[in-house]
Amino acid sequence: MALTRRSSGLLKPLSAASSASFLHRRPFSTDDTTTITVETSVPFTGHNCEPPSRSVDTTPKELMKFFTDMAVMRRMEIAADSLYKSKLIRGFCHLYDGQEAVSIGMEAAITKQDCIITAYRDHCLFLGRGGTLLESFAELMGRQAGCSNGKGGSMHFYKKESCFFGGHGIVGAQVPLGCGLAFAQKYRKEDHVTFAMYGDGAANQGQLFEALNMAALWDLPAILVCENNHYGMGTAEWRAAKSPAYYKRGDYVPGLKVDGMDAFAVKQACKFAKEHVLKNGPIILEMDTYRYHGHSMSDPGSTYRTRDEISGVRQERDPIERIRKLILAHDLATEKELKDIEKQVRKEVDDAIAQAKESPMPAESELFTNVYRKGFGVESFGADRKELRATLP
C-alpha cells in the first residue's frame, strides 16, 4: 500500500532530511477505505433537538491522523510551557493540553471555508486550521516569522486563508464577531458555517446572549461552542453560574452536550451541528472538556482544584490515550510505532523551536506598520501631507 501523505499540515517537514526519513518509515495502516465504527464514550444530551447517534464511522487513516495531530498539539503546548519558564515566551500564555479533541474533532467534520473564531486559548486551533509549528512558536516568541509578524502574541493567532479568525483577548468579545462572520456567510449566500467558541467563564457574558438572540432572529449559520473546562480561571463553574448547563442556556436555541475529550463525539456533534444550522439557525454545543494546565502559565492550576482530580481525568479521559487504545484495539499500529510517532513529533517540534529562535525580532519600523491600511488614494497623513513617518528617539 502506498504511503500516502498523512494529510497532516502539522508535520510539514522542515528540511529535506526529515522528509527523507519520513518516507523511509515503515508504512503502518493508512487505509482510507475500511470503515471502523466507534461508539462515543457517553451518549449526547440534547436540548430542544434530537441528538445524533452514538456510532461514528471512521477509517484507519483518520484514526492515525487524529493520533498524530493530537500528539503534535500536546507536544507543542508542553514545549510552550518550558519556553515560557525559560522566559522566551512572555506575557500571557494559555495552554490547551487536555482539550485537543475539540479542535481535532471539529476539523474532521468541517472544511477550511467554514469559519472558526475563538478566545485566547488558540494555539492548537491555529494548528488545526493549517498553521505551522514555526509560525506558532515564532509568534509566541515575538519573532518576525510569526503568524502575526510577532505583533500579536499568544492571544492573537490568525490565519485568513483558512478562515481562522483568532485569537481574542477580551472574554466573550469574539462571540458577536462570530455572529458577524455568520452574517456575512448568509449575506453572501454561502453554504458554510461559523463556529464561535468560548469558555464556561465567557458563557455568563451578556453580549453572548445578545449575539445569540440576533443569530436566532435572522437564522444565521452560527454554531456557538462552549468549551466547558469547568473553571473560569480560578472560579469553578458552580460558583459562577446559576445554571451550569450551558447547552440549555440558549432557551429557544437548541443545544447539545458533548463529551469534549472524545474526538469522535466532537466530530459527530460538529457534523450534526453544521447540517442543522444550515437549515434551522443557530445551535449551542457544549463540549465537556478539561485543561491540565492552569488558566495560564501564571496560574499553577492547583489552588482551586486537587491534583487528584487532574490526574484522575488524565488517566480516565485523556483524548490521546483514547485514540491510542482504539488504534491498538483495531491493530492499526504497534505500541512501538506509536511511540516512534511521538518521538518524531517531538523532533519536529524541537526543530520548529530551533528555527523559530533563529528568526529575528521585528524591525523598529514594524512598530508603525499595519496600523492603518493604505491605498484609498486620498490619504494625506502627517504635517507635510506625505505619509507620516515616525522615528523613534
Partner: protein
Amino acid sequence: MASIFQGVGAATSLDTKKFQLSSLRSVTGRKASCVVMRSGGAKMDGGSNQISGRADQLVTNAVATKADTPAASTASKPGHELLLFEALREGLEEEMERDARVCVMGEDVGHYGGSYKVTKGLAEKYGDLRVLDTPIAENSFTGMGIGAAMTGLRPIIEGMNMGFLLLAFNQISNNCGMLHYTSGGQFKIPVVIRGPGGVGRQLGAEHSQRLESYFQSIPGIQMVACSTPYNAKGLMKAAIRSDNPVILFEHVLLYNLKERIPDEEYVLNLEEAEMVRPGEHVTILTYSRMRYHVMQAAKTLVNKGYDPEVIDIRSLKPFDLYTIGNSIKKTHRVLIVEECMRTGGIGASLTAAITENFHDYLDAPIMCLSSQDVPTPYAGTLEEWTVVQPPQIVAAVEQLCR
C-alpha cells in the same frame, strides 16, 4: 465637470489673490470620469486655500448660498438643494448602489427609516439584510459588524445616539481598531461607525454626549466630523470607501441644514481640513456645530475690525496639521473652539499637537474654548452656558489679539 467655487462678497476683507480655483485631483486607478476630488490644494504661496469664500455669507440659520457671479464657471450644473440628513442619505445610497458589499445595521434603520431619517427608503430598495434592523444590543451588533467586515463586507454601523456606542466601546477599541495590527495585516476592518452626538435641545445629560474625546486615542481608527451637507455627503462616501475603520460624527442639531450641493459625484479627503473663511489676524479651529457659532462670532469680529481665519478641521484623527500649520504660520495666533469637554477633549490634543509642531510660530498662548466639564443639564439656560457661545468667542479673539 468640475465645479469651481469662487470667493465672493465681503470683498473688503478678501484679497483678489485669494480667489483661487480648487485644485482637482482625481483618484488614481478608479473610473475617474465622474469623481472629483476636492482637496485643500497644495499651493500655499501666500494665498489661502480654496472653497467657500461664500462662508462670509453664512448666517445663523446656516442656509449657505453659492456665489452666482457671472465669473463662476458655467461648465457645471447648478446642483441641487437638500438638507444635511438627505445629503448623508444620498452619499450612503450612492455607495450602496456602487458596491454590493456595503450594508447598514443599526436600531430602526430599516422599516422605520432611521431615527433621523438618514436611511429612509433604503430598506424598501435594498432589502432587510442589507439595511438591518438590529435589536437594542450595541455591543454585539457593533461586534457583528466588525466580524462581517473581517470577511470583506463593508458595514455601516449606526448608533442611534453616539452616547449609546459607549456600550460598544470594547468592540470599537479592541476589535475595530486593533485587529489589523494584531493580525499582522491579515484582516482589514472597513467599517463606518456613525451617529449623531453633541448637545441638542434639552435632551438631558446622557443624550448630549461628545464621544470624540473618548475615541480619539484608539489606535487604528480614523475620526471625522461633518458640518455641512456638502462635507457630510463627501465624508460619508470617503468613509465608506476607506479600508480603515472610520467614525463619522454627526450632530443632532445640524440635520436640517440646507445647502446646494453639486449634482456630480464627489468624494472628500478624510484627513483634510476645510478653510471656511480665510483671514489674517487669528486662526480659529473648530468642527461640527461650533463652526456655526464661530461664523456668527466672525460677523461681529469683522465689524469690529478683526480678520479671523476660520478652519473647520473636519478630521479629528489624524489632525490635518498641514492646513493648520500653514494657517498658524500666517496668523501666529490660535483659538480652538470645540464642543468637547475641556478635560481631555479634541481641543486638548490639538493644543498639544500645535505646541509640539508650531511653537515657534506662535505669538500668544493657544486659547481653547470648550464645553464646561459638567454633565449637560436639562434646563435651557444652563444648557446654553455649557457650550461655547458666540460672545465668548468674540471676547476670546479680542483677548488673543491684544
